[in-house]
C-alpha cells in the first residue's frame, strides 16, 4: 500500500517514550486525576505500538487491538473516576500520599 510508511523502529521509539512518560507521571504525580491521565498515556503508548506493528506486518490486528485498548481504558477510567468521587468524599483530598492509611 502506498502513502507514507514509517519504519517500525521509529514508531516503537515514540511509543516507548510515551510509555516512559506515563510511568514517570505515575511515579511523580500525587493527584489521582493526573495519575489516571498518566495511565491513559501508558495504555495509548501500547496501543500506538500495536498500530505501528500492525502496519509493519500489514495486518488489521493492530487496529483491532487498538480499539480494544480504547474500550478497556475507558472502562478503567470510568471506574476510576467513580472512585475519585468517593475518595474526595471520604478522604477530603485527592492527594494519594495523604489518602493512605494502610501499610507495614
Amino acid at each position: 500500500m502506498d502513502g507514507l510508511n514509517i519504519p517500525l523502529n521509529h514508531v516503537l521509539l515514540v511509543s516507548s517514550l510515551l510509555f516512559v512518560i506515563g510511568l514517570l507521571g505515575l511515579m511523580i504525580r500525587r493527584n489521582i486525576i493526573f495519575i489516571l491521565m498518566s495511565l491513559e498515556v501508558m495504555l495509548n503508548a501500547a496501543a500506538l505500538a500495536f498500530v505501528g506493528a500492525g502496519a509493519h506486518w500489514g495486518q488489521p490486528d493492530g487496529q483491532v487491538v487498538f480499539m480494544l485498548i480504547l474500550t478497556v481504558a475507558a472502562a478503567e477510567v470510568a471506574v476510576g473516576l467513580g472512585l475519585v468521587l468517593q475518595i474526595q468524599r471520604r478522604f477530603k483530598t485527592l492527594d494519594m500520599d495523604h489518602a493512605n492509611r494502610m501499610g507495614g
Binding site: L12, G22, L26, A46, V65, L68, R101
Partner: protein
C-alpha cells in the same frame, strides 16, 4: 460458530445469561435475596455446563480453547465463586445496602475469569483480565462507608492498570517482533524473531510476564497485595485470592507452555529469581504480621513463588507430572485459601480491628468448628501431612527434584521453615485462654467450614481419585 462450539462455550454463555437476567431483575424489582438466588442458580447452571462442555472440547476460533484442563479450572473457579456468594450474603446483610450490583459484578468477574482460563490469544487474555479486574475494583470498593475499601480499590486499580499497560506493551513488542498474537503463533515464530532481534522478544516477554506476575503478586510486583487484601471486604479478598489469582496463573501456564517460553534460558533465569525472591520475601514479610488478612496476603506471595517452581521445571522436563502438579497445587491452594477466608470472614467480619491476631485468641474455646477450620487451613498452608497443602508441596518438591532445581528447593525449604512460625502463631493464639466473647456463627457458616475442612483433609489423606482426574487432564 456451529452448535458444538456453542456447547463448548456453554459455561461462558450461561454466566453471560445470568448477568443479563440479573440486570433485568434489577430493572423490574430490586430485591437482594432474589438476586442472590439468581446468582446462585446461575453459578450452579454454569457448573453443570462446565461438566457438560467436556463432551465438546475444542478450540473455538483462535481466541479460546475449551479443553479438560480449562474446564477443570472453570469448575474450580465456579466453586470458589459459590463460596464467595455464600459468605457475601452474611457479610453485607447487616448494612442496609443495595447489593444487587454486587452480585452482578461478581458474576461479571467470574465470567472474566472463565474467559481468562480458556484464553489462548492475547486479545482474549486482555478481555478476560480486564473484565475480571474492572469488576473486581468495584467489588473491592463496594462497602458504602469506611476508607480502607476505597483506598484498596484505588490502589488496586491504578497499579493493575499500570501492570496491564506493561503487559500490553510487552505484547505490542512481541507482535512487532513476530507478527502474531496467539500464544501458539508467538511460540512458533518467536524462535526466528529471537534470532533476528532478541532484545525485542526478550524484553517483550519479560514485560508480559511482569504484567502477569503483578496479578499473581510475585516479587517485585507484590507490594499492593497486603493493602488490597486488608482493605477489601473479606469475601472479596477471598475471591481475589482464589478466583482471580487462579485464573491468571492458568493463563500464565498456557502462555508459558504454548508460547514455548521454557526454551529461553534467560526467561527461566528470570522466573527462578522471581520464584526465589517470592518464597523468601513473602514469608519474611509475614513473619511478624499481626493483621491476619495481611498475613494471608504475604503468605499468598510465597505460595505462588512455590508454584513458579513447576513452571521453571518445564525447562528440564515435559512430564505429565508438571501439569498434575499445577492442577493439584492450585486446587489445594484455592480450597485452603477459601477455608481460611471463610473463617476470617465469619470471625472478623468487616470491622478493621477484628482482623488483629489478638482477636483470634481463645477461639478454640469459643467457636470450636471455626477454630478447627482455621487450624486445618494453617496446617495445610504449612504443608503438614494429611492436608491438601502437603500433597501440593509433595508434587512441587518431586517435580523440583526430578528437574534438579536444587537452588529453588533450598529456597522452598527456607521459606517453609520461616512460614511454620507465623502459621503456628495463629494456632497458638487460638489455643490461648482469653475472655473475648462474640456472637456465635450461623449454621450456614459452620456448615461451609465443615465442608471445606472435609475437602482439604480428603485431598490430603486420600488424594488418589484427584490424582487420577489431574492425570487425565
Amino acid at each position: 460458530m456451529n452448535s458444538s462450539s456453542m456447547m463448548a462455550l456453554l459455561p461462558i454463555l450461561m454466566l453471560s445469561l445470568t448477568v443479563v437476567v440479573l440486570m433485568i431483575q434489577a430493572s423490574i424489582k430490586r430485591d437482594q435475596s432474589i438476586a442472590w438466588m439468581i446468582t446462585g442458580i446461575g453459578f450452579l447452571v454454569s457448573l453443570w455446563a462446565a461438566g457438560y462442555a467436556r463432551g465438546f472440547t475444542q478450540t473455538v476460533t483462535v481466541l479460546l480453547s475449551v479443553d479438560d484442563w480449562g474446564l477443570y479450572f472453570t469448575t474450580l473457579v465456579l466453586l470458589a465463586s459459590v463460596v464467595t456468594l455464600v459468605l457475601s450474603k452474611d457479610t453485607f446483610s447487616p448494612e442496609g445496602e443495595r447489593k444487587e450490583e454486587f452480585y452482578l459484578l461478581l458474576v461479571l468477574s467470574v465470567l472474566g475469569a472463565v474467559v481468562l482460563i480458556q484464553s489462548t490469544h492475547m486479545v482474549s487474555l486482555l478481555l478476560g483480565m480486564e473484565l475480571m479486574g474492572v469488576a473486581l475494583y468495584a467489588m473491592i470498593a463496594f462497602p458504602e462507608r469506611g476508607q480502607l475499601p476505597l483506598e484498596a480499590a484505588i490502589k488496586y486499580l491504578v497499579l493493575s492498570a499500570c501492570a496491564s499497560a506493561m503487559l500490553l506493551y510487552g505484547f505490542a513488542l512481541l507482535y512487532a517482533a513476530t507478527g502474531d498474537l496467539s500464544y501458539a503463533g508467538i511460540g512458533t515464530k518467536a524462535i526466528l524473531a529471537y534470532a533476528q532481534n532478541p532484545v525485542l522478544v526478550i524484553s517483550g516477554t519479560v514485560l508480559v510476564l511482569a504484567g502477569i506476575c503483578f496479578k499473581l503478586s510475585l516479587v517485585p510486583f507484590h507490594m499492593w497485595t497486603p493493602d488490597v487484601y486488608e482493605g477489601a471486604p473479606t469475601p472479596v479478598t477471598g475471591f481475589l485470592a482464589t478466583v482471580s489469582k487462579g485464573a491468571v496463573f492458568v493463563a500464565l501456564a498456557r502462555f508459558f507452555i504454548e508460547g514455548q517460553l521454557y526454551q529461553y534460558s534467560s526467561l527461566i533465569g528470570v522466573l527462578s529469581m522471581v520464584a526465589i525472591a517470592s518464597m523468601l520475601i513473602g514469608n519474611l514479610l509475614a513473619l511478624k504480621q499481626n493483621n491476619v488478612k495481611r498475613l494471608l496476603a504475604y503468605s499468598s506471595i510465597a505460595h505462588f513463588g512455590y508454584l513458579l517452581v513447576v513452571l521453571v521445571a518445564l525447562a528440564y522436563q515435559d512430564g505429565p507430572l508438571v501439569n498434575e502438579a499445577i492442577t493439584f497445587y492450585l486446587g489445594a491452594y484455592i480450597l485452603t485459601t477459601l477455608l481460611a477466608f471463610s473463617v476470617v470472614a465469619t470471625i472478623a467480619g468487616e470491622e478493621e480491628e477484628k482482623n488483629d491476631i489478638t482477636f483470634f485468641e481463645g477461639l478454640f474455646w469459643r467457636k470450636r468448628i471455626q477454630a478447627i477450620g482455621l487450624t486445618v487451613a494453617m496446617l495445610s498452608f504449612a504443608g503438614i501431612p494429611l492436608t491438601a497443602g502437603f500433597m501440593g508441596k509433595f508434587y512441587i518438591i518431586s517435580v523440583g527434584i526430578q528437574s534438579g532445581l536444587w537452588w529453588l528447593l533450598a529456597a522452598l525449604v527456607m521459606g517453609s521453615a520461616i512460614a511454620i512460625y507465623y502459621y503456628l502463631r495463629i494456632i497458638f493464639a487460638m489455643s490461648k485462654a482469653s475472655k473475648i466473647s462474640s456472637d456465635s456463627p450461623t449454621q450456614a457458616q459452620d456448615l461451609l467450614v465443615i465442608v471445606l475442612v472435609a475437602m482439604v483433609i480428603m485431598l490430603g489423606s486420600w488424594p488418589q481419585p484427584f490424582i487420577e482426574i489431574a492425570g487425565r487432564l
